[in-house]
């Protein structure tokens, strides 16, 4: 069957089997391998991306269900070569070791800060509570998100264009291919 959706501001379409999961459509058909795939039970949260502006587990959505919807992946966080404060926060506060859980953590963090710019530690922990990190531990991830809250991006006047431009051509990063 045919599906069409908007991914990082760009219209995409593809021929898929109905059983294809959104995470595989995004990774294997679009080459956006920033979104990871880590479990069969919807528990780990490394596959989190945005659907219509809200974080969801893309392993628990059929690509067919996303037809006509808007998807945003971790590749869209960086704008014009500048890291999102959430990404910078993970750098500053050692928010990752292996990096496997990181894309999902950052997509949830960005959504949290968009809706609640000054979250308490409890609110941060609740937001990422369905996501598992097996190596860094949560203390540094919480600190990374707190760092981002303290260093919000100063929005340029031309946000919509900058946003669209950042979503144009997602870079494929070789080191993340074939994690599974």
């Amino acid at each position: 069957m045919q599906v069409a959706m908007t991914v990082n501001g760009r219209p995409v379409h593809g021929e898929i089997e109905p059983r294809m999961l959104l995470v595989h459509f995004v990774r294997d058909q679009l080459g956006l391998t920033g979104t990871h795939w880590g479990c069969d039970t919807s528990n780990c949260g490394t596959c989190v991306l945005w659907m219509d502006g809200e974080p969801v587990k893309s392993c628990t959505v059929l690509a067919a269900m996303a037809h006509g919807h808007e998807i945003r992946t971790v590749e869209d966080l960086e704008r014009d070569g500048e890291l999102d404060p959430v990404q910078q926060g993970f750098v500053e506060q050692h928010g990752l070791q292996c990096g496997f859980c990181t894309p999902g953590m950052m997509m949830t963090a960005r959504w949290l800060l968009d809706h609640n710019p000054h979250p308490s530690e409890a609110e941060i922990r609740e937001a990422i509570s369905g996501q598992i990190c097996r190596c860094t531990g949560y203390a540094n991830i919480v600190r990374a998100i707190q760092w981002a809250a303290e260093h919000p991006r100063v929005e340029p006047e031309t946000v919509p264009e900058a946003f669209a431009a950042a979503g144009q051509a997602p870079e494929r990063s070789g080191e993340e291919v074939g994690v599974r």
Binding site: R19, L21, D40, V56, L62, T108
Partner: protein
């Protein structure tokens, strides 16, 4: 892993969806938020022939007021239930319990109707439906019918829905005025399913509990209405000792499972403790 090969249809109305289910026969499956069904399909624990996705039926989403009821569309997502002003005002117990379901990401996709139709004994919302005397409105090839919550949950993962029937909406009688509510859930790790959960709504007038509703999660293969506790609380004094005493009746009529999370006797103990906590919180005691 990915699901086995399956057909997929996305109808735009309930009538079309029922038609698609009937046409596809008994191996067809309704797909709502997919938060229970897709993990099952990925683990290859089920092999439906066709998935009938309700996600494109606009009329199945949202909450409205109808006389003395709040009507929640079956496709209303958990995240929308939690924030809905009508739910918060007239069915606060539902908001309280839904906030404990899974995690924010799952709540952005999972639906109220899906959680009821799935009928997992560890699911948090069936006990709420039973406690609030909700009515399930279903549509099938034979037309529409209303099923009381007390008859809806038949057994482990089994409801009174017939093949070809879709749960369309849930009517919840309003609890207004002096009612307040609390859902108390016990689990050991963040976002795990309830080992036991207790849904309590209490109408308190000054120092007296006029009336109480109590539903239990995971104390049987279906949700349990704790009638004994309710009887003990009706007209009782709103103090800690009275509530603790009433809570000991929580185990009446239950048949708790034994599994990796706990043995039956441990669950019985939990039911008593959590009933005391849920009722006390709801009644603002202590």
């Amino acid at each position: 892993m990915i699901p086995a090969r399956v057909e997929y249809v996305a109808p735009h109305s309930v009538t079309e969806a029922v038609g698609a289910l009937v046409e596809a026969g008994e191996d067809a499956k309704v797909l709502a938020g997919g938060q229970s069904l897709l993990p099952v399909l990925r683990l290859r624990m089920a092999y439906p022939s066709v998935l009938v996705d309700l996600g494109r039926i606009d009329g199945m989403r949202g909450v409205r007021e109808e006389g003395s009821s709040v009507v929640v569309g079956a496709m209303t997502r958990h995240s929308d239930v939690i924030d809905d002003p009508l739910v918060r005002r007239y069915a606060a117990l539902l908001a309280s319990a839904t906030a404990t379901v899974a995690d924010p990401q799952v709540r952005h996709r999972g639906t109220f109707g899906g959680a009821l139709a799935h009928a997992d004994p560890a699911g948090d919302l069936p006990a709420v439906a039973v406690a609030l005397d909700a009515e399930m409105v279903a549509e099938g090839p034979g037309g529409r019918r209303t099923i009381p919550a007390s008859e809806f949950f038949v057994d482990y993962l089994q409801t009174a829905l017939e093949p070809g029937e879709i749960l369309c909406e849930v009517r919840i009688p309003k609890l207004d005025g002096e009612w307040s509510a609390h859902y108390e859930k016990f689990n050991r790790t963040a976002q795990a399913w309830a080992i036991v959960g207790v849904a309590a709504a209490v109408r308190r007038s000054n120092g007296t509990i006029v009336e109480a509703r109590v539903g239990l999660t995971n104390m049987s293969s279906t949700p349990v209405r704790a009638r004994g506790v309710e009887a003990a609380l009706a007209g009782a004094s709103a103090d800690a000792a009275t509530v603790a005493d009433a809570a000991t009746r929580a185990v009446e009529g239950t048949n708790p499972p034994s599994d990796l999370s706990g043995q039956a006797d441990y669950r019985s103990h939990l039911a008593t403790v959590l009933t005391r906590r849920a009722v006390s919180r709801a009644a603002h005691i202590g």
